[in-house]
Amino acid sequence: MPDINPNTAPALATPAEPHKGSPSLQRQRQRAAFWFLAPMLIALFCVAAWPLMRTIYFSLTDATLSNLYDAKFIGFQNYLQVRELSSGRTIYRGTLVDPDWWNAVWNTVRFSVVSVAFETVFGLIVALVLNAEFKGRGFVRAAILIPWAIPTIVSAKMWGWMLNDQFGILNDILLNLGLISQRIAWTASTETAMKAVLIVDIWKTTPFMALLILAGLQMVPRDMYEAAKIDGIHPVKVFFKVTLPLIRPALMVAVIFRMLDALRIFDLVYVLTPNSSATKTMSVISRENMIDFDKFAYGAAQSTLLFGIIAVFVAAYIWIGKVDLSGEKSR
C-alpha cells in the first residue's frame, strides 16, 4: 500500500497531437505538478516505503539488534519453521505457532472491535447532543475537545492514578456507592486490565468520533427534521429512517479511521498496563521482541504480519463499503 513506485507518480498525459513550439498550458501545469510532488514523494519514500521494505526483508533474515548487516537470509523461518527431529517427531516453530503472538492478535482484535463499537455509539450520542440547539453548546463542544487534546501518555498516567488500587479515586467512588465490596487492582489484575485500557481509550477517542459524526449530521438539512415533525413521526423512527442513512458515509469513514488507529495501538497499553499479557497487543509484542528481547527479525516478522492484516482489512472495507475515502468522486 504505501509503496510509492513510479507508476503512481503523475504520468504526463500525452497530447493529442505532436505539439510544436511552447508546451501547452495543461502540459506546463502537469510538469509543475510533477516537481511540486517530487519532494514529498521522495520524503515519503525515505520514511515509509523504504523502511517498510527493509522491515519485510529483515523478517526473512536472522538479524539481531547488534548484527543488522551480516544477517543471513532464512526464508520464512521466522513465520513458520518445520523441523523433523531425529526421533521422528515434527516440531513447529515461528510466529504463526507462537501462542503469545496469537494472544496478542486476539487482544488487539478484541480491543479494536469493542472500543470502536462503544466509541461509535457514544460518539453518536454526543454528536446528537451537540447537534441540538441549546444554551452552552459551545462550552460543551470545548469540553469534549479536552480528552482529545491530552497526550495519550498523559491520559494513561492520569487514569493509571485514578485507577490505582489503593489510592485511586475510582475505587473510592465505587466503594462509596456500594457497587464493589473491595478495591480492584484495575490495571494489574488480568481480569480488569483490558477493561481499564478500553475505558481510557473510549474516554480519549469518543470526542474525535463525535466531531466526525457531527460534521456528517450538520449536512443533514434541518427541513428534513421539521418535515418529519410536522408529519408526526416519532423521533426514534426519524433517527433510524432518515438521519442514520444520511450520515452513513460519514460514519463509515469515521469507523474505518478509528479501526485502523485501534489496530495499531501501542502507547496506551504500554504505559497503562505494562507487561500484562491480558492486554499485550500486536504492536507491543512486536516491539518487545524487536528491541527488548533482541529478536529483531522475529519482531520484524510480527510487524509485517500486522501490516498485512491491516492492509487486508482496509482493502476489504473499501471494497465492501465502497467508501470514497479520497473524496475524489464526490467533487
Binding site: P15, A16, H19, G21, S22, S24, L25, Q28
Partner: protein, 334 residues
C-alpha cells in the same frame, strides 16, 4: 484587434465530446455573442479560445497564427468571469495591476494604465479598497477594469452580468457597449443566456446546440431568417409559434413558424379559436389562442386589448412573415 479563426475545433473530456467540430471566423473588432441552451458548450468554447482548456483536435488561429498550444497569458486575451474572480486579499489597484506586475512592466506605465481604466469605469475612488468592501456592480467593474489594463486583443466575457440585479444589469450592459465603441477595433466575445443582451450587444450572434454551431449571423438575420426550427425557437421572446399538421400542410410545410407580432386579429382569418389566457405587460398584450394545435398560439398586440377569456377570435398570419419548415426542420426556400 484580432481576427480569430476556428477550424473544425473539437473538445472531448475523456469519452465525452463537448464541442463537436466548430468552424467559425470572428472578425477584427467584432462583438460576437454565443447563445444556446444550458450545457451546450458556450463556456467551453470560450475557454478554448482563452486557452484555459486545450482543444482536442482542429486548429485555432489568432490573426493567422496558430495558437493551439499558446498559453492564455500569451494570447493577448483578457477574461471577465461570472463570479468576478477578484483576488480577495488584494486591493482593487493591485487586482488590476497584477497581470502587468507579473509581466514586469514599468511601474509608471502600470500606474498610468490602472488609473486610466479606473477613470473610464468610474471606480478611481475605490482603488484602495479590498474586493469584499465593494458592491456586486463595483466588483464587476473592477473585473472589467482588470481586463482593460491588460490591453488585450480579445475580450472574453462569460455571463458577466448574471449575478447582478436587473437595473444594474441594464446599466452595465450599456457600459460594455460603450466600452466596445470606445476601444475601437477590440474583438469581444460574450457568452450569455439573456436574449436582450444578445440582441442589443452583438454584431453577430452564434447559436450553439449540443456542441455544434447552428447558425451565425447578425441579430436581424437570425430573427428574420432562422435556418432551422431550433434557431427560430431560440431567438426571440415570446417564443415563435410552431404549428404542425393540417394547417401547416395547407401552406405546404411540415412545420409552420410565425412570430407573435406577425399575427393579426381578423374575424375571417384562416385560424379560428378561443382565447384561453391573456397577459398584459403594459406596453404589450399577449393573447393565448387555442386553435386546435398542441400549444396555444401567442398573439402579441401593442397597447391595451380588451378580449375576455373564452371569446372566439379569428387569426390571420401575415403571409410574408410565415416561416415554412420541411421535414428536415430546415426552411423551405421558394
Amino acid at each position: 484587434m484580432a481576427k480569430i479563426e476556428l477550424n473544425n475545433v473539437t473538445k472531448s473530456y475523456g469519452a465525452v465530446d463537448v464541442i463537436k467540430g466548430i468552424d467559425l471566423t470572428i472578425e477584427k473588432g467584432e462583438f460576437m455573442v454565443f447563445v444556446g441552451p444550458s450545457g451546450c458548450g458556450k463556456s467551453t468554447l470560450l475557454r478554448l479560445i482563452s486557452g484555459l482548456e486545450e482543444i482536442t483536435t482542429g486548429d485555432m488561429m489568432f490573426d493567422g497564427q496558430r495558437v493551439n498550444n499558446v498559453v492564455p497569458s500569451e494570447r493577448g486575451i483578457a477574461m471577465v468571469f461570472q463570479s468576478y474572480a477578484l483576488y480577495p486579499h488584494m486591493k482593487v489597484y493591485d487586482n488590476m495591476a497584477f497581470g502587468m506586475k507579473l509581466a514586469k512592466s514599468d511601474k509608471g506605465e502600470i500606474d498610468r494604465r490602472v488609473r486610466n481604466a479606473a477613470k473610464m469605469l468610474q471606480i478611481d475612488h475605490l482603488l484602495d479598497r479590498l474586493p469584499r468592501q465593494l458592491s456586486g456592480g463595483q466588483r464587476q467593474r473592477v473585473a472589467i477594469g482588470r481586463a482593460i489594463v491588460r490591453d488585450p486583443r480579445v475580450f472574453l466575457f462569460d455571463e458577466p452580468l448574471s449575478n447582478l440585479d436587473a437595473a444594474l444589469r441594464v446599466q452595465t450592459r450599456l457600459e460594455i457597449a460603450k466600452l466596445h465603441h470606445d476601444m475601437n477595433d477590440v474583438t469581444m466575445i460574450y457568452v450569455t443566456h439573456d436574449q436582450v443582451e444578445a440582441m442589443t450587444l452583438a454584431d453577430r450572434i452564434a447559436v450553439l446546440r449540443d456542441g455544434k454551431l447552428m447558425q451565425v449571423g447578425t441579430p436581424a438575420e437570425l430573427y428574420d431568417n432562422p435556418n432551422s426550427i431550433f434557431v427560430a425557437g431560440f431567438i426571440g421572446s415570446p417564443k415563435m409559434n410552431f404549428i404542425t399538421g393540417e394547417k401547416a400542410q395547407a401552406e405546404g410545410a411540415t412545420t409552420l413558424g410565425i412570430r407573435a407580432e406577425h399575427i393579426d386579429l381578423d374575424e375571417g382569418g384562416p385560424w379560428q379559436g378561443e382565447v384561453v389566457h391573456a397577459e398584459d405587460l403594459g406596453s404589450d398584450h399577449y393573447l393565448f389562442v387555442d386553435i386546435g394545435t398542441d400549444e396555444p398560439v401567442i398573439v402579441r398586440r401593442s397597447g391595451k386589448l380588451n378580449v375576455p377569456l373564452g371569446t372566439r377570435v379569428g387569426l390571420r398570419p401575415r403571409p410574408q412573415d410565415l416561416h415554412r419548415f420541411g421535414p428536415d426542420e430546415k426552411p423551405i426556400r421558394r
